[in-house]
Symmetry: C2
Subunit: 207 residues, 2 copies
């Protein structure tokens, strides 16, 4: 039997594709059998590369966190060009990346938009992020939360409110996205508009 040439890397990649193809429930539906089938391999073979289903889940979640963090960092690094057209600028001189980072309220809004865009584009991955975030990184380590925290600190508001403010932003964005993914917004009214309304209201009200 020819070898499939798997690797931890490859297995996680396959799992990622499974999560992506599963829509919002792709994360909870992630199963070894699906990954094995997609790899053209028997299920127990996966154990040579990954520590069972829990191990695979952690690995996938970690990748998703890094993924989202990247998207957020790009969102505040390059105002105009949002997420997807980063490739189009590959040929531009490297100094283009040095453009000044967004700050304050602009940054908060950009980060929120990036989180929502990521969640809508990769619902399964977003859910994966949520089950990881908590366990992994302590305060200070660069992750989605830290990016939001940095932006909030630049708002120039009293330091004793920073924690409350970060929590408020995170809660609002996460709650909105979660409801949107779950189909919780039954009415036909423009969801895009509601999201801007939420952010504008919240950010303008911070003190």
């Amino acid at each position: 039997m020819p070898r499939a040439g798997l690797s931890r890397q490859a297995v996680v990649d396959l799992a990622l594709s499974v999560v992506d193809d599963g829509g919002p429930s792709g994360w909870s539906d992630l199963a070894l059998s699906t990954v094995a089938h997609r790899a053209g391999v028997a299920v127990p073979s996966l154990y040579k590369h990954v520590d069972g289903l829990p191990g695979l889940r952690s690995a996938v979640a970690a990748r998703c966190v890094a993924d989202l963090t990247d998207a957020m960092a790009r969102a505040i690094a390059r105002p105009a060009t949002d997420l997807e057209d980063a490739a189009a600028h590959k040929d531009a001189p490297a100094d283009d990346d040095r453009r000044a980072t967004l700050a304050g309220a602009e940054a908060v809004r950009a980060l929120a938009a990036a989180i929502r865009a990521y969640a809508l584009a990769h619902p399964g991955r977003y859910r994966a992020v949520q089950s990881a975030e908590t366990a992994a990184l302590g305060p200070g380590s660069a992750g989605p939360v830290e990016l939001v925290a940095r932006a909030v600190r630049q708002l120039g508001l009293p330091a004793h409110r920073w924690v409350d403010q970060v929590r408020a932003i995170r809660a609002a964005v996460h709650g909105f996205v979660e409801l949107e993914l779950g189909g919780g917004f039954g009415l036909p009214e423009d969801v895009e508009m509601s999201f801007r309304y939420l952010l504008d209201t919240l950010v303008a009200g911070l003190r």
Copy 2:
């Protein structure tokens, strides 16, 4: 073999207790085997009362929605006495229940607090509510969303913003609770305070 004297009602009650005992993951961990064991019955027997695991889940979720709706209705009906001491007032004259309902911003805050209190007291049930809400009730039917909508309408703000406002409130509360349940607030800072901050900021900023 003596009969266990089960009923659909009893099975759902048992399932509810399983969900409660399971903490935040009690809902996703809900299994027929656990319920059957708790009922002192073999697993297939449950099919005589409930339409498999999906059926049981819907029934449980429906009960949780009604449950939460009740708690929210009580929260705006009786300002001082919150959730748990309703029983203590059982002997008071029935007219006591006629106390004027809270309105406007007060009502919104009370509803938000009730939702969070419910989620913290019954994390599994709260998660059950989230997986149901969407499917079940259309607009207008009395449920948690409709209660929030009514309170928002009484704020006296422009009607074309009502939908956005309801969505904002729901998103903020749900997101906060979800992060709190998931252990997403790593820092030791007072979570109670952060919740009030979020609500005050949001409600004060609505326009």
